[in-house]
Each structure stands twice: as C-alpha cells, then as structure tokens.
C-alpha cells in the first residue's frame, strides 16, 4: 500500500527522510497495511463510517448551504507516538498549564507580572476576553483552567511546537474516544500488538476534576453540563460526555438562580447545582452581566458565581489565556513563575501592535500566516502564500485599523502523515495534535489526543470546519 508513497519536503511521521525507511515504531503498522488491498481497505473504511453515522457522531458547519450536519472524516491509519516523545510533550504541557493558571491568578489579583514589566498592561486589559468582573475574585481551588486543549504541530525537523492553547471550551475529545473504539473494531490485532495506552478513562477523570471544584462541604457534588443546545457544532460531544460521566446535560432554561444559588429544574423539584461544566462562552453565560440578547445563559448566574455558590469549569475570564497575543508571552510566564525554561517551544510570533512588528508583517504578508487574536476554529485567518492580492489588501487594512487584534507567524510546514486519499491511494497529509489536559486535584493528560489531518492536498488547515479529518493517536507504553 505504501509503495508509491511520496515523502515530499516535509517531516514525515512514518518515514525517515534519510533512507525512506519506516521509523521503528511504525514497522508493525507498515506490515499490517501492506497485507491489505484497496478493496479490503475500502470495506474497513465503510464499516467505520457507518458506525459513526449510526451513533450520530457528527458536527455542524456554519455558513455552508450544503447542509450543516456532517460526520467528521476519519482516517484509518493511526498516528503513533513513542513513549519518550510523549513524555516530553507531557512535561511541556504540565509546565504550561501551571504557568497559565498562575498568570490568570496573577492578573486577576495583584498583577505582579505586569508590574515587573514582563507582560504589558494594555495587552492584558485590552484583550477581548479579559473580564474586569473577575478582578479580585477568588475562584474555586484557585484554579481557572480545568480543561485545556493545546494544539501542537511539528516543524520540518520534527520538533514539537505549541501552536495555541484553547483554554475556554476546547472540543474534540469525544472523537478521541470514538476514534479509538473504531480502530479497535477495525484493527483489533494490530491494536493489541502495539502496547497502546488507553484513553477511555477520560470521562472519569473529567468528572473527578469537576467534583473537585465543588465548594459545598458535606454534600455529594452535583455537576451538570451546560450546552448552548442542539444547534451547537459540538452538541454531539456535549451529550456524549454528559452520558459517559452520568451527569445531567442542561440548557440555560433548565437552570434558575434563587437567592444567589443555582438550581436545576427536575421532575422532583429544584436541585442545587455545585459545579457547571459550561460548554458556552463567557459572553452568553448571563444576560444580566454579559450579552443582553443571550437566550442561552442563566440570569443571575454570575452573581451566584461571584459569591462562590457555584463553580464554573472553566472559570470566567480564561479566554485571556488563549488570546494569541498573550500566547507570545507564555515562554516568559514559564520563566517568571516557575523559574524554568519551556520544554515545548512556541512558533515565533509577530505582534501587530508593536510598531516594528507591524511594519514587518505588512511587508511580508505573502510569507506569513496572519491570525486574528481571538478567533478559533480556523476562522479569521490569512494564509499568506496561498492568498490572493485582494485578500491581502483587506487584511492589511484590518491590521492597520486594529493592530491589537492581529498576530502573524511564519508558515510552519506541518509534519505529514500517510493518509488514505481518493481511490484509496495513500498520500502524505499535514497533521497537528490536540492533547487534552485536565487540571483538578492532579494534572492529568490523556495519552495522545486528537490528531487532526488536513485532507485537502497541500492544505495546512486541519480544522473540522475547513476540510479537516482526524486520526486515532496511539501513545505507546515504554
């Protein structure tokens, strides 16, 4: 199957550039797929896809007339990460989430890192997701980010780099669990021949993480998952996680705030809620505090929250940590709070609000990736090398108008991974990795995470809303 595979000028996850041979940890996989012909492969793919459709594992694409409900394309060739490589990732992510939490604690209280001149004040206070309401508020367990999805990429030498942190409501973990189930069904023998670290305890750890936040002593914590509803792109995931954890899934209208406590309406009357795993952005949480037109939230929720009568995961105001301008300062945060060098490097970042950086960005638009500071999901982005003249002109104008809102990075040629493409040919496609970090009493990182693959030839955009698919990710025991 791999005989006509072309390496290209990228780091390939499976094949060495020097001699074209497969890396040791991919040899079993190479043999197994070598036994399959196109027909057999197609049959397996069909089986897996049907499974996904039956279980309703779908997502929603906004702004597309062809219909909104899709299956997330799944590629049968798993990505394999050896033990030592994973250990380094784990160290880097642990260090990073601790530093980000300390940063949020700091800027929402004394702000020492600002006073010591490490992070400029206007970058913090001017961030779209900075919440002045949270200034001086003690959050439960002093912990802001319980659930973080940090996107990693590998450059052309195979080095792992942090691309961005998702510290608000990262999604995708349901695919990690479902992809694993699919792979176990499709390749049971191969799966057990590799010693793969399991991922299926994620919902248990997530529940522990949520319960840990409860501030009601002497009472079993009541946790709920707050969803924006069936039209949200990640609604499948919301139901999936709530079911796996055995907690209620609620919408705003199912909750009510009385005397600064939050209750859930049930058939047996009102039940006090201690922890809300909210899959809904700050802006929509409470129409009294944030967007007045929000029908998704709960009136009075912020009041209950600020009084410490209910905990939210993640805390309000964590969007500050995944602001793309703040991203540029994370290595400095790690040095400042932890007195350590970052284990994982970041992508060099130009900040448009710095005059010199802005001049450079505007001069080099064609070579750079320009990102809006607060968008996610691959929206609001300019891929310099593939952009048209008019797109660049439009971005240049936006950058001049709102410099704080844009950053630019050199194009990192993401690593590629053999992927099944049209006519069951196997070609290299670009991938990234989103590990999920849970920070409760302990910090736990689910081994692997979501490997997203840009299915369109040559594309570097892996987001599900932009033609991306996913792969199962196998982290090996030592």
């Amino acid at each position: 199957m791999f005989s006509r595979y072309e390496l290209g000028h990228f780091f390939d996850e499976m094949y060495r550039r020097e001699d074209g041979g497969a890396f040791e940890h991919y040899k079993l996989l190479e043999n197994r797929f070598g036994e399959l012909d196109a027909q057999a492969l197609e049959a397996k793919q069909l089986l897996v896809n049907e499974g996904f459709l039956e279980e309703g594992i779908t997502f929603t694409v906004y702004g597309d007339e062809k219909g909104t409900e899709r299956i997330f394309p799944f590629d049968l060739i798993p990505r394999i990460i050896p033990h030592a490589e994973w250990q380094q990732i784990e160290e880097g992510l642990t260090q990073r989430i601790i530093a980000l939490n300390l940063f949020l604690n700091d800027v929402y209280h004394e702000g020492r890192i600002i006073r010591d001149g490490i992070v400029p004040e206007d970058v913090v206070r001017g961030a779209a997701h900075y919440r002045p309401e949270m200034q001086g508020v003690k959050v439960s367990k002093d912990n802001y980010i319980q659930i973080c999805g940090t996107d990693l990429i590998r450059d052309d030498s195979g080095r792992y780099l942090v691309l961005e942190d998702n510290a608000r409501c990262p999604s995708g973990v349901s695919y990690v669990l479902e992809n694993r189930e699919a792979m176990k069904r499709a390749f049971p023998q191969l799966y057990s021949n590799y010693r793969v670290r399991p991922v299926d305890n994620y919902p248990d750890i997530l529940l522990d993480t949520l319960q840990h936040l409860s501030q009601r002593a002497g009472h079993a914590p009541v946790c709920v998952l707050l969803t924006p509803g069936v039209y949200n792109s990640a609604y499948f995931e919301h139901t999936f996680l709530a079911r796996k954890m055995g907690i209620e899934i609620v919408e705003g209208r199912d909750l009510i705030v009385l005397d600064s406590y939050v209750y859930m309406r049930t058939t047996q009357g009102l039940v006090q809620v201690d922890v809300i795993y909210r899959r809904i952005d700050d802006d929509f949480l409470d129409p009294l505090t944030f967007r007045k037109d929000s029908l998704l939230g709960v009136s009075g929720l912020m009041d209950a929250y600020l009084k410490g009568n209910v905990a939210l995961a993640n805390a309000v105001g964590t969007g500050l940590a995944d602001d793309k301008v703040i991203y540029a300062y994370v290595p400095e945060m790690i040095r400042y709070y932890l007195d350590q060098e970052p284990v994982l490097e970041s992508v060099p970042t130009y900040l448009a609000w710095r005059d010199t950086d802005r001049a450079y960005i505007l001069d080099h638009l064609e070579e750079l990736v320009v990102k809006s500071a607060n968008e996610s999901g691959g929206y609001g982005m300019l891929m310099g090398p593939t952009s048209t003249k008019s797109e660049r002109a439009a971005f240049a104008e936006n950058i001049r108008a709102e410099p704080r809102n844009f950053i630019a990075q050199p194009v990192v040629s993401l690593s590629r991974h053999p992927t099944i493409c049209e006519n069951t040919s196997i070609e290299g496609r670009h991938i990234d990795l989103r590990p999920f970090i849970l920070y409760g009493e302990k910090i736990e990182i689910i081994p692997g995470g979501l490997t997203r693959v840009a299915l369109n030839k040559g594309s570097l955009i892996v987001n599900s809303s932009q033609g991306g698919g996913s792969k199962d990710t196998w982290v090996l025991h030592s």
Binding site: L102, L338, I443
Partner: protein, 283 residues
C-alpha cells in the same frame, strides 16, 4: 522505580501578613541513584520565582511577596526515577573504624563531623554512642546499630518536639518525629567520628498496610560516610537502609540547612495555621 510526588504546603495567617520572603528546598537532587524527570514549583499569590544553589549543592528557590496576603500556598510536583543505591544482597560492610580514623577522607566529609545548629556533641552523647557501638569495628555495622537503637528505644510521637528541638533533648527524652530521630542519629555518629549528614526527602510506602512512619509530610533520615561505598542512607524512623523507595531533596549538617520551606513575614496576627500534604505515587 518511577515515583510521582505532590507536596503541598499552605499557610493561613490570622491577620494579613506582608513582606514575606521565603526559601524552598523542594527540588529533588540529581544523584547516581536518582534522576529527575519533572520538578515544578508553584506559589500563590503568584509571584516571580528565582533560584540559587547553596553550599551543599541543594537547589534553593526563593521569592518575596511584599503585599498584604492572608494565605500562602506552595505546591511542588515531581517525577523521579530512582534506582537502588546499594545492592541490598551485599550490604556495604567492610569499611572499618580504624580505616576511617587513619585513612584520608574526602574534604566534603568535614562539615559533617562538626557541631551544627541542632546537633552538638556532649560527653553524655559520646558515652551513649560508645555503648551502642559496643564491639563493632565496622562503620556500617555501627551505623545500623545506632539506627536500630533509636528505632527500638525511642517513641515516635508528634507534638512532643518542635522544629527547633536539639539532638541533645531528643536523646534525653527519647521521643519525637523523623526530624528528631535523624538529629539524634547524626549526633551519635559524629560523636564516634563517623561523618553523618541530615537528609530531607520523601519515601514511597510500599507496605501493604501503609505501616511506615512519616509518609504524610516530608521525611528526614541520615547518610553516613562509608568509604568506597560512598554515602549510605539509613532511616532511623523506619529502621530501613535507604533504597529506591526514597527520594532525596536536600542534605546538610542538620534541619537548618535543608528545611523544605523556610521564611519570614511581618504581621500575620501573631499566629498562622499550617497545612501540609505529601502524596507519593508509584507510576
């Protein structure tokens, strides 16, 4: 053995404290039998953390909090890969007291033969040490006998001593916690001319019923100089030769040199409540 440690120290002050400055010795040492994969220290209120290495090559982190605060939280997370320092089938016998007395010993040993803040030599301590040694001509055998003596005759009881209790008091009262037992043992060893240093760290309690003493906080034991065998760890609190279940944070002449958390502050209403938690898991 791959061990993961979570060590949490939290102070609550009755009234606001300010101008707090602190030193932390919470980073596991890199030694021949110990490799550190992770060591992350975090402090709340969040502040800048810095470090230096002290005279005993212990990594010291320090920070100050000038503003008012009513609580201080210090968390340390480590992952350490340990191996057995001594092959336990052949305990490090064979280094004799006369060799120790006549042969040259490394310079690093000298500080660990002198009196220090909490460990002093007195005629009474020397007399008792000589009795414990008895006929032994072997340094390790003597060290083991002292450890056994303390373990068998002293009462393990918290609240009977303080952080500032001297070795002499412990030897007289025969009661205390791991810190006191380690001080007492250090004093006996030094009285007999055996270089002995005080070690702070953690251990993983692998007994089925968690019967070892001192696992709920950071632990302390003693290392004696054993000639070619190098420094040999002995834990008088549990009568154990130190093996791969132990993690070394720091060593020094006595507790004063290695206190995991030490600091000063102004205010605070005259008293503080301290809560400490240590959890060691095997990975």
């Amino acid at each position: 053995m791959r061990l993961q440690v979570y060590h949490r120290t939290e102070y609550f002050y009755l009234e606001d404290a300010a101008k707090s400055s602190n030193e932390l010795r919470l980073t596991p040492k890199i030694t021949a039998s110990q490799d550190v994969q992770r060591s992350i220290i975090s402090v709340l209120p969040a502040t800048r953390l810095e470090h230096y290495d002290d005279l005993n090559c212990n990594r010291v982190h320090y920070f100050t909090i000038p503003e008012q605060h009513n609580r201080l939280l210090i968390e340390s997370r480590s992952i350490v890969e340990t191996s057995k320092p001594n092959d336990l089938d052949s305990l490090p016998y064979g280094y004799t007291h006369s060799e120790l007395k006549t042969g040259p010993i490394p310079e690093e040993c000298y500080p660990y033969l002198q009196n220090s803040t909490y460990v002093e030599n007195t005629p009474e301590i020397w007399r008792e040490a000589v009795d414990i040694k008895g006929e032994s001509e072997d340094v390790f055998q003597t060290g083991y006998a002292i450890m056994d003596y303390i373990y068998s005759n002293y009462q393990y009881a918290s609240g009977t001593t303080t952080a500032a209790t001297h070795a002499g008091d412990v030897i007289r009262e025969r009661t205390g916690v791991c810190q006191d037992f380690a001080h007492a043992m250090t004093a006996f060893c030094r009285a007999l001319g055996i270089p002995a240093r005080y070690v702070s760290g953690y251990f993983y309690d692998s007994t089925r019923n968690r019967s070892l003493r001192g696992s709920e906080a950071s632990h302390a034991w003693v290392e004696i100089y054993g000639g070619k065998a190098g420094w040999i760890g002995l834990d008088p609190t549990n009568r154990k030769v130190v093996d791969d279940t132990y993690i070394v944070l720091a060593f020094g002449r006595d507790y004063r040199d290695v206190a995991p958390v030490i600091g000063t502050y102004y205010g605070g209403g005259g008293s503080s409540r301290l809560s400490i938690r240590v959890q060691v898991d095997r990975l």
